[in-house]
């Protein structure tokens, strides 16, 4: 079953500086990108960086990313429910 990973961007203000979830995931399921694409002549503001699940086929629903996030921004669910 493919997990569904939802990140609430408003709770994740500067993922490039934090990056705790990226480092904790054993299989690099998560990816960091921007919601604006490349910007000519401009550095992208931290608030435009986002974390997404991009390789969900490797997500074991271990919940490490959910636990490590200081802001509770990540939700991981899988059909059939998550063990308590």
């Amino acid at each position: 079953m493919l997990a569904t990973i939802v990140v609430e961007d408003s709770k994740c203000p500067d993922p490039l500086a934090c990056r705790k979830c990226l480092l904790v995931c054993p299989t690099r399921v998560l990816g960091l990108g921007t919601d604006v694409g490349p910007q000519k002549y401009r550095e992208i503001d931290p608030e435009h960086f986002i974390v997404r699940g991009v390789r969900e086929q490797f997500c074991t629903v271990c919940m490490k990313c959910v636990e490590v996030c200081p802001n509770g921004a990540i939700q991981v669910t899988v059909e059939g429910g998550v063990p308590a």
Binding site: L22, R28, G31, L32, T34, G37, P38, Q39, K40, V54
Partner: protein
């Protein structure tokens, strides 16, 4: 010889040994292409969150081979036209360093995306050719800035990266314009991941395949951890290293550490069943 050599080699042994493929002329062509003008023509979008997307993963999971193949073909058409890579050997790299100019050391978009690696730890990519003179237009693609290197300096940096275990790859930015010289590993390189994990060829295998001579192999096992493509294993039955030729990308990293010289590279073209396996 791969299809890119046939199309863009122009008499050179490999397409990436043809100096024309690093030239400004092609860079201009790229800029005129409408689809290259947007996000896709830029290294960050391509390297950043490169993935096949949820719909592809779902089709794969439910065994919908028709959809998987259709989406794979779509991905190939886009990647091969705009931005894809190929593995090269150390010997080929040295030949290339003689024909490219300028060379700029820059941060790696994949490791930024995979691990949020800070710029100062992330200088593992090289941009090359006239496009590099305009790097300041894209401050985020080139986060951390660019260090321009002489060919000798570039060679030294590349040797260090290689001894760390990173694979040399070349990338197009508007095929056949070659403008990226990357140093990659699994699982942090988005291209290796996409190629190895879901068989979408944003990274092509190189022109060689490594072979172990079992008579020379002393079973030290040092080569095994060099392989970033899951091609090398150690056989507890024979106590020798084993290379899966179907999985080998021909990067030659395993050969670097083999003391008794038991590993050699053979040209893919000499193995009929592998000649078209890229």
């Amino acid at each position: 010889m791969c299809v890119w050599c046939e199309r863009y080699g122009e008499g050179h042994e490999r397409w990436y040994l043809n100096p024309a493929n690093y030239a400004r002329r092609l860079y201009k062509v790229r800029k005129d292409e409408p689809e290259a003008a947007g996000a896709e023509g830029n290294p960050q979008a391509a390297g950043g969150m490169a993935s096949m997307g949820r719909a592809f993963l779902e089709a794969r999971e439910r065994g919908d081979l028709e959809t998987v193949e259709r989406m794979r073909k779509q991905a190939h058409d886009i990647a091969w036209g705009i931005h894809f890579g190929q593995v090269i050997t150390q010997e080929e790299l040295e030949q290339i360093l003689d024909i490219i100019y300028p060379i700029g050391l820059m941060t790696c978009a994949c490791r930024r995306s995979m691990r949020g690696l800070p710029d100062e730890e992330n200088f593992t990519c090289m941009g090359m050719g006239p496009g590099m003179y305009k790097w300041e237009r894209w401050p985020d693609t080139y986060r951390g800035g660019v260090h321009f290197l002489t060919p000798d300096e570039a060679k030294q940096v590349l040797n260090t990266l290689r001894s760390r275990g990173l694979v040399h790859t070349l990338f197009t930015f508007g095929t056949p314009y070659l403008a990226g010289l990357c140093n990659c590993d699994y699982p942090d390189c988005a291209a290796i991941r996409t190629a190895v994990d879901v068989d979408v060829k944003v990274l092509w295998k190189g022109h060689y395949i490594a072979e172990v001579d079992p008579d020379l192999c002393n079973g030290c096992g040092l080569c095994v951890r060099r392989c970033q493509f899951k091609a090398l294993s150690f056989s507890p039955s024979t106590l020798k290293a084993n290379i899966d030729p179907l999985q080998c990308y021909g990067c030659s990293l395993c050969r670097d550490v083999c003391k008794p010289d038991a590993i050699r590279l053979v040209d893919r073209a000499t193995l009929p069943a592998l000649a078209e396996i890229w």
